[in-house]
């Protein structure tokens, strides 16, 4: 059953669960920060509306910088703003920022410990029809590998708002990942959230699904389905990829002795890899990784693409069955 202490949305598993894009939560969080902290500044590269920075830009035009289609400069300008005491949020599509601006993120932001918050939108296969060029599937890998970075992947719009506010009120460089499509709202205002602390969304003892981002909903659906067969699935929302919650992940592995990781990202170097690094060094158990299998995406509808590349509910069910056969 769902973990009551998490105060999750009671409509989980029901067809009429609310669907909201995580980028909307970012826009709301940014507005909140703008009202409470005059040092919060927003930058975008010709994508104010689709990254949801537009409302902030209208309300606080003196703290909004339209950088044009020039992401490398935008990242560096944000670093300069931070070094002069501002808290800049850089918003673009993740394929462009930090995709095109990785060197600037590495040196101007991370090495300098500049207090820059990088919002990468339109991540994952779910960008859909725009095709492979715009589907960010490598962003977690290229950000988490850089020292001094915090990396967060909120699971829904409410958690995206909490993430934005938490990052905006703490010091240090950070990347957080957003989506374009409407996705299930799993949490509520009352759901506890803290950077670096994974949450147990569903209790279980046979296998642990450790997921990051909106795709976690497929994990919950798979868990509820398998429960009818008597398979007890623990589901963990691992929203913070760095610094990762070693304690909760090792606890889950010790309890269940089998793990499935779940992410809308390349399985190499992403959230699943981060979990595998923790378990390999602390408590090795069999792991199945659900994610993008070393491939570029293509155009299509989000649900078609997730099915084709193996990231839908049925793929999670298969992964759980597979890992159970390897369990000692």
């Amino acid at each position: 059953m769902l973990n009551p202490s998490q105060k999750l949305n009671s409509k989980i598993g029901s067809p009429d669960i609310e669907q909201v894009p995580t980028r909307n939560g970012f826009g709301e969080g940014l507005l909140y920060l703008g009202e409470h902290d005059k040092n919060v500044v927003a930058l975008t590269g010709d994508l104010a509306e689709s990254t949801r920075v537009l409302e902030f830009a209208k309300k606080y035009p003196e703290r909004f910088i339209e950088c044009g289609v020039a992401e490398q400069n935008m990242m560096g300008v944000a670093a300069g703003l931070a070094l002069a005491g501002k808290t800049p949020f850089v918003a673009s599509y993740a394929t462009f920022s930090p995709g095109r601006s990785w060197d600037q993120m590495r040196v101007s932001v991370a090495y300098s410990k500049a207090n820059v918050k990088i919002a990468g939108s339109h991540t994952g296969l779910s960008v859909g029809p725009d095709g492979a060029t715009h589907q960010a599937l490598e962003d977690i890998a290229i950000t988490r590998v850089v020292p001094n970075m915090t990396v967060v992947v909120p699971c829904d719009a409410i958690e995206a708002r909490k993430t934005t506010i938490a990052l905006g009120t703490s010091a240090g460089p950070a990347y957080f990942r957003l989506g374009r499509e409407k996705t299930a709202v799993m949490t509520t205002e009352e759901t506890p959230f803290a950077i670096g602390k994974a949450s147990v969304f569903k209790e279980g003892k046979d296998v642990a699904v450790i997921g990051s981002g909106p795709i976690l909903y497929a994990g919950l659906q798979a868990a509820l389905e398998l429960e009818k067969e008597g398979i007890s699935v623990l589901v963990i929302n691992n929203h913070t990829i760095k610094p990762i919650d070693v304690e909760t992940i090792v606890w889950a592995a010790k309890l269940t002795k089998a793990v499935v990781t779940l992410e809308e990202h390349q399985t190499m170097g992403g959230a699943g890899s981060a979990v595998a690094e923790v378990l390999a060094q602390n408590y090795p158990v069999p792991i199945e990784m659900v994610g993008m299998p070393n491939s570029f995406g293509e155009s299509g509808q989000p649900e078609e693409l997730l099915k084709k590349f193996g990231m839908d509910k049925d793929s999670v069910v298969r992964a759980i069955r597979n890992v159970l056969t390897k369990k000692q």
Partner: protein
């Protein structure tokens, strides 16, 4: 410092010495005792490889003891091969990958303007780094935002690692390019102290536009066997046999003697 380090760049730091002297001892508002003073002027060194001249100037100004200069590039030093803002007081930004300073200078200038501070941002760039696309992204935004609190200077020494800039990747007409991006452009002899100080004073009087000073310099200035030779871009004295230079063992002593005596015109206190 470079001889002690055994690696590093000679030509750029030597030709920037006059400009750094003008900045830190005449032009800039700064306080070595309070490097984080809110209303200080900011020096952003975008061409991080020329940091020996920044380190030497900061030491001379009193930011840290001069003896520390000999730790350049050595384990445990605060004087890294390319500057790091968190390592040493007086260093505003980390630099090395070219052009990143230009964007950071724009960001600092925007923040100062938001806070209604009168501080100025002094951006130092090499000519070779004008080949980076990021420079022109930053120049475009500074022009759009009319950031008159930025004064950039380009060390126009005409050399880069692989040769002369106009052979590697032509940069001219540099003046027209900056003017097209809505910058005010000045051109000076980068070794004429009065011209350097006058140019910075003129830049301060320009409103509604950022200013760039194209400073024509002689790479390796002050050391006869280095002047004008691109081979000295990335080499310290004393490790390479470069055409026209004294034997390796004598290069450092010869260079220091030339610099200290203005090529024999004055008597050195070190002799």
């Amino acid at each position: 410092m470079l001889v002690e380090a055994g690696s590093g760049h000679s030509a750029g730091p030597l030709d920037l010495a006059d400009i750094f002297t003008a900045l830190y001892f005449s032009v800039m508002k700064h306080d070595p005792q309070h490097p984080d003073w809110t209303t200080r002027d900011r020096l952003v060194l975008s061409c991080g490889h020329t940091c020996p001249v920044l380190y030497a100037t900061l030491a001379e100004a009193g930011y840290f003891p001069k003896a520390e200069l000999k730790t350049l590039r050595k384990l445990g030093t605060r004087l890294h091969g390319h500057p790091h803002n968190l390592a040493l007081p007086g260093i505003e930004t980390s630099s090395g990958p070219l052009a990143q300073g230009a964007s950071q200078a724009v960001g600092i200038a925007l923040a100062l303007r938001m806070d209604s501070l009168k501080s100025r941002v002094f951006l130092v760039m090499s000519d070779g780094e004008q080949q980076e696309g990021q420079i022109w992204e930053a120049v475009m935004l500074a022009g759009k935002e009319k950031l008159h609190n930025i004064t950039a200077i380009i060390d126009r020494n005409n050399i880069q690692i692989d040769g002369f800039t106009e052979n590697v990747m032509p940069l001219e007409g540099l003046r027209a390019k900056y003017e097209a991006f809505n910058w005010h452009v000045l051109e000076i002899d980068g070794h004429n102290m009065q011209a350097i100080i006058n140019a910075y004073a003129e830049a301060e009087a320009i409103y509604e536009k950022p200013t760039v000073i194209i400073a024509h310099t002689i790479p390796g200035k002050g050391v006869d066997y280095m002047e004008g030779k691109f081979e000295w871009h990335g080499s310290p004295p004393g490790i390479s046999d470069i055409a026209g230079a004294p034997p390796k063992a004598e290069q450092a002593a010869e260079a220091l003697k030339e610099l200290r005596t203005l090529r024999g015109q004055i008597k050195s206190e070190h002799e």
